[in-house]
């Protein structure tokens, strides 16, 4: 798909050097939320309950990175900037990075490795169960994020596996929804954004399906074979 007409060529099709620079910049930018938390901790500016503030800050950014990762493909299709996809793996891995720090904060600062309490907590409190499930589901995606793993799995299987990121998004929003006491404004906002991203994808799929069917109908034999198969 060609880039939109109003986008300058240099941005539509950056050279290799430019792309590397962009990647470095994004890499550094993704560390800013963590730096901000550490800076606040250093200045003793995390409020009366620093452990809660750290847990929440890291949780919020895990969810942000998940949704940013999910926005890459829509943004790419809408803008025609195909190179955006080259940032997707890094963003996804950052989601996993923040999720793991968030989990570590919980295990270490919050529960102080009290494994009995942790197991009970994960089993008993629905919001913790959901959070843990979301993190677990991220593990295989992070583990298969390398080129080598992609080749080993084969494009199709790899893609099918990585589609679970949408389910992870749903479980993560549930985790947030269930943990707030009463004011669901923020979880609701995240749910809306996730819903829009899912809807965009569903509509495109249908479109593509429709176009493919139309193409098939033009070759009657195939259309019959297809309907027979269904």
């Amino acid at each position: 798909m060609a880039a939109a007409a109003w986008i300058p060529r240099r941005i539509a099709a950056p050279g290799a050097g430019m792309l590397t620079a962009v990647k470095c910049l994004v890499f550094a930018a993704c560390l800013l939320p963590l730096a901000d938390l550490l800076w606040a901790a250093w200045r003793d500016d995390l409020g009366a309950n620093p452990i809660e503030a750290i847990t929440r800050g890291l949780g919020t950014w895990t969810l942000n990175f998940l949704l940013i990762t999910l926005s890459v493909t829509p943004l790419r299709k809408l803008s025609g900037l195909d190179w955006l996809v080259r940032l997707r793996r890094m963003l996804g891995l950052y989601a996993f990075f923040y999720a793991s720090l968030h989990l570590l904060t919980y295990l270490w600062l919050d529960q102080f490795f009290d494994w009995a309490a942790i197991v009970k907590d994960i089993a008993k409190r629905p919001f913790v169960t959901a959070g843990f499930l979301a993190w677990l589901m991220l593990v295989p995606l992070a583990a298969t994020s390398t080129q080598a793993m992609m080749r080993r799995l084969g494009g199709r299987r790899w893609q099918r596996l990585h589609r679970s990121v949408y389910a992870i998004g749903v479980v993560a929003v549930l985790h947030y929804w269930w943990l707030v006491k009463k004011d669901v404004t923020l979880p609701f906002t995240y749910a809306l954004i996730l819903g829009a991203l899912l809807a965009w994808r569903a509509v495109r799929r249908q479109d593509r399906g429709g176009r493919a069917n139309a193409a098939l109908v033009r070759t009657p034999g195939v259309a019959m074979a297809k309907s027979g198969a269904e």
């Binding site: 963590l34 606040a40 250093w42 009366a48 006491k181 009463k182």
Partner: protein, 317 residues
């Protein structure tokens, strides 16, 4: 009046200082220096109290007070659940500052012989102010130690001569959307409503707080007067009260209406009955790193246990 005896904590419930320090040292030296720094920010080294101006003069020490380390003034006044001013606990410290505190009246009515509307300044003169240093345990799993100033609630309630038919007391907080813009979001059923059984309300531990740390109550803590019931979860302590009603039937509180399966009428601190969202077995005392065990009735079992003799506290949560 039952004499106060300090709750006896099992030694295991108090983290030995040495263990605590060694854990801190461990965290400092661990590879993840970043998170260690955060733990360092817990403020354990901070001075115990930022004692504000002693506006109320010298006060007698109450036998009901605990001698546990008090939560710093800064934390007591910057970590507040006061949803009329926003659902983020750091918000009320700013957003509540516009609350007008005078004129302020409290109406006491319902099943009483002499219904009255009292001015806040006359309430302040009703009985000698006492200092009460109480533990406060929030349902969310954190706790504080707050040096309140106040009068026994009983002193206020006796002003109107409750009738024999009055069995419960309902408390209503101010609901003024002009001063409390956050109430436009119907997060809870406004006005904020709480309730106590009459014997709980008359119990000597129950106070109407009018100040803390020796000064007038800050707005974010529920000025000009709020309820403090130290053996119950913090949300029972209705803030900025304008009406007290004596009733025959158990009143439906705002939180009961919001989540009947999560919040009961009694809301006694009980480590044995978990909330679906938070384990109630342990709590984090603000300023401490390790969680501590939560005590039955928040450590006030000797004083209030008999109020619930024979009741199934699992059902009456």
């Amino acid at each position: 009046m039952p004499r106060y005896t300090p709750p006896s904590h099992a030694a295991s419930e108090i983290t030995p200082r040495a263990l605590f320090d060694s854990r801190r040292a461990f965290i400092r030296s661990a590879g993840l220096g970043s998170i260690a720094l955060a733990a360092g920010a817990l403020g354990l080294g901070r001075a115990a109290s930022a004692l504000a101006a002693q506006k109320f003069g010298a006060l007698e020490r109450s036998p009901f007070s605990t001698d546990e380390k008090q939560t710093p003034y800064k934390d007591v006044t910057n970590y507040n659940n006061f949803y009329e001013f926003g659902t983020d606990k750091r918000e009320p410290a700013q957003s509540a500052q516009s609350l007008r505190l005078r004129p302020w009246t409290v109406t006491l009515d319902g099943l009483v012989a002499r219904p009255r509307t009292l001015d806040i300044d006359s309430i302040l003169r009703l009985a000698p102010l006492e200092e009460r240093i109480y533990r406060m345990r929030c349902v969310e799993g954190w706790s504080m130690v707050v040096p309140w100033l106040g009068i026994p609630l009983a002193a206020l309630l006796k002003q109107v001569e409750p009738l024999g038919s009055a069995r419960y007391v309902e408390f209503q907080s101010l609901h003024d959307p002009a001063q409390m813009p956050a109430t436009r979001l119907r997060v809870l059923d406004w006005p904020y409503t709480e309730g106590l059984r009459l014997d709980e309300a008359m119990h000597p531990l129950t106070i109407m707080a009018l100040g803390l740390y020796g000064e007038e109550l800050p707005r974010q803590n529920g000025a000009p007067l709020r309820l403090v019931v130290p053996w119950k979860y913090g949300y029972k302590g209705a803030k900025s009260i304008v009406r007290i009603r004596f009733v025959e039937r158990e009143p439906a509180t705002s939180w009961m209406r919001a989540g009947p399966s999560e919040y009961g009428f009694y809301s006694n601190v009980n480590p044995g009955v978990d909330h679906p969202r938070w384990s109630q077995a342990t709590e984090r005392r603000l300023g401490e790193f390790l969680k501590r065990k939560t005590l039955m009735f928040n450590g006030y079992a000797e004083q209030v246990g008999q109020l619930y003799a024979g009741m199934d506290l699992r059902r009456n949560f």
